[in-house]
Every structure is written in C-alpha cells, then in structure tokens.
Symmetry: C2
Subunit: 68 residues, 2 copies
C-alpha cells in the first residue's frame, strides 16, 4: 500500500472537496482519497505508487490545480 | 411576472451557486433563478410573488442562509 500527499489549490467548499475526491478516486489503483479543505492536502492511498501526472490530470479535470 | 432579489451568504464557488439555484428553482411557480456569486444576490423570477419563507427554506436546504 502506498500513500502520497499532494496539495491542491482553489478548493473553497465541500463541493470542491467532493469533485476532487471523485476524480482522483477514478485513477487506476487508487483505493482511498482523503482531502483536508483548509490546507488543500490530498492524501492518496493506492496499491502501487501513483504518477504525479495522473493526479495532476485528475485534479485539473475537477477544475482545480496542484500547487507547485 | 414577478422578480424578487434575496441575498444569500456562504456561497464560495460555482458548485454553491448550482446548489442554491437547484433548490430555489424547485419552489412552485419559479421560472428563473439568477445567482451572482460575488455579491450573493439571488434574483428569483416567478409567476406569482414568492414567499420569503419558501426561499429561505430552499436556501437552507442547499446548505446556505439568507442574509438579514
């Protein structure tokens, strides 16, 4: 089991959290996604390590951006 | 045709606007709902005048509040 944490910018409410969670959960191999709204931290649990590019694409699909 | 404008607090993003619009649109007789996110102004167009209590209930159902 792998855990990686990313920081997402632009989320302002629970709907935003739900959108990001939904998109990141759809990445192959991801088993859990935990978002902390105040900090923008998105913890991704997956069977194999996730590619940052895949997370970035999912976050952008939801309408937000990865920090950095 | 009647137009009434209410102010809703707590909306932070387009998802919030969509939630409020959806609930207020469900009030009987309402034909159009226009939300301005920066100001929180919600303009309700309806066949007959809408009761503020109905708008308040719809806004609260969406998870927000009427100002004042």
């Amino acid at each position: 089991m792998n855990e990686s944490t990313f920081t997402v910018t632009g989320m302002t409410c629970g709907h935003c959290v739900a959108s990001v969670t939904e998109e990141v959960t759809m990445i192959a191999g991801v088993t859990d996604v935990a978002v902390d709204l105040p900090t923008g931290a998105v913890k991704v649990t997956s069977a194999a390590p996730v590619a940052e590019a895949d997370v970035r694409a999912a976050v952008e699909e939801a309408g937000y951006a990865l920090a950095g």
